[in-house]
């Protein structure tokens, strides 16, 4: 019996708790989406998308643990690195000189 299947209280397991946390993250991500759509500047949108990416990584990791899918973690790792590259690349190209980092 793994940790995820351990009972916390009233028949609910750690896995259930993690799924609830993941659901909370999804709701927060929807809030963040407002800023990505609204802007008003390019940097605001990049920032919001970057935060959304971090949230996605966390959600992936939680789901990986809660559903017993260790491969989700590899996806999360790759996603985290891509997310970082995205932020750097867009920051670089919004400045016309291309001199960021």
């Amino acid at each position: 019996m793994s940790v995820v299947d351990a009972t916390l209280a009233a028949g609910y397991t750690v896995g259930d708790f993690l799924l609830v946390v993941a659901a909370g993250f999804v709701i927060l991500a929807i809030g963040m989406l407002y800023r990505a759509v609204k802007g008003p500047t390019m940097q605001d949108r990049v920032l919001a998308v970057n935060v959304l990416g971090t949230n996605t990584v966390v959600i992936l990791a939680i789901l990986g643990a809660a559903l017993g899918e260790p491969t989700f973690l590899d996806i999360a790792l790759v996603y985290a690195l891509l997310n970082f590259l995205m932020a750097i690349a867009i920051s670089k190209f919004t400045v016309e000189r291309g001199g960021v980092l």
């Binding site: 609204k38 802007g39 008003p40 500047t41 390019m42 790792l77 000189r97």
Partner: protein
Amino acid sequence: MADDGVPGSTGGSVVVPIESTPTLRATVTHLVESAADGEFSAIHFVVFATWRDGDPEAADREASVDRLLERVSTWAEADLADVDEVDVDDVEVVTTVVGGDEYLFGADDYVRELVAYAGDHGIEHVVLDPEYTPVGNTTLLQSLEFALSRTDLVVREAPVARPTRRERLRKEATGIRFAAIFGLSLAFYLALGDPFYPFDVVTGVASATVVAVTLSRVSLDADPSLTRTPIRLLRGAVYVPVLFFEILKSNLVVARVILDPRMPIEPSLNRVRVIVGSGLPITTLANSITLTPGTLTVRARDGDLYVHSLIPWARDGLFDGSLERWTRFVFYGREAARLPTPRERDDVGIFQGPDATEEYPGARADGGSEREGAAVVDGSTADATEADGSEDAEEVTPE
């Protein structure tokens, strides 16, 4: 800043005419390294005054030259601290302004002043920054070198790569750098895979080789030291819990500010000059500052960090410089961490808000001028280059 350089016993003194160029930082490093090798015992950085005392703009230009000289001596100090073999007191660094009582026109005028200065201080050597053009005349260096060759001074140009953007990232390839990158990427690959599965080992070696061949010139700018790196890692391990505690503490403070319905924020952009080496140390410091809530590093320009602070509390914490001391501890050891706070050193400035002490800096103050007009906004008005959306920005949350 002293004005009287007395030539030491070992090696001679060297005079370096400087102005703000992209290669100045590397030139300073080169000089300090030469001095560490025993070539020079004193380095005189001089700036030719291109104004005459009493000119209407003299005070402004003098102030900017003073800032340049101060920056150069900070760099030299930091470089000296980086060199292990040499005692810091053995190398004398002098910064001074030459001229100012008459206008200087051509190369001959500059050389005359330089020779006079060298004669006064018993200096025999001149090292030139390759990008040095004192009056913005691109052909001056040639004739300056020519004019200097007719004097008794020994002249050479600092062997510093000019900042052609493409070349800047490429460093020398050495075996130890290759090995370090190879080992690191192989370890990462095997950590994600299975180190006991032959297929993973073979593909890991192959991809680590590709990474090391392509990136070992780019990723490391100095050979990793076998003695210093483990010590730094160890000291870094001490730093991490401290940093984490700082993050937690100030995150709680900032969370309270953000969740407060009145949202009592008082943002401002600040400048703080830090005394840590370039490269990894300043990156660590800037990232630590960004991680600590309430402060965000916006720009690192030479030794100056432009830091945006959300609340005055965070700004005060920044000016107390505890993160700077920790970074110095991680990279240079315990003795190096004992230094006055930026506030005591007077290395701080506030660009905005009621406590502002300095004018808001332009985005391109050191380079091009295409946004000069927009840059001088004092912070109370939005500037025109901002993205168009300001009119549709509305209250997100009612007060």
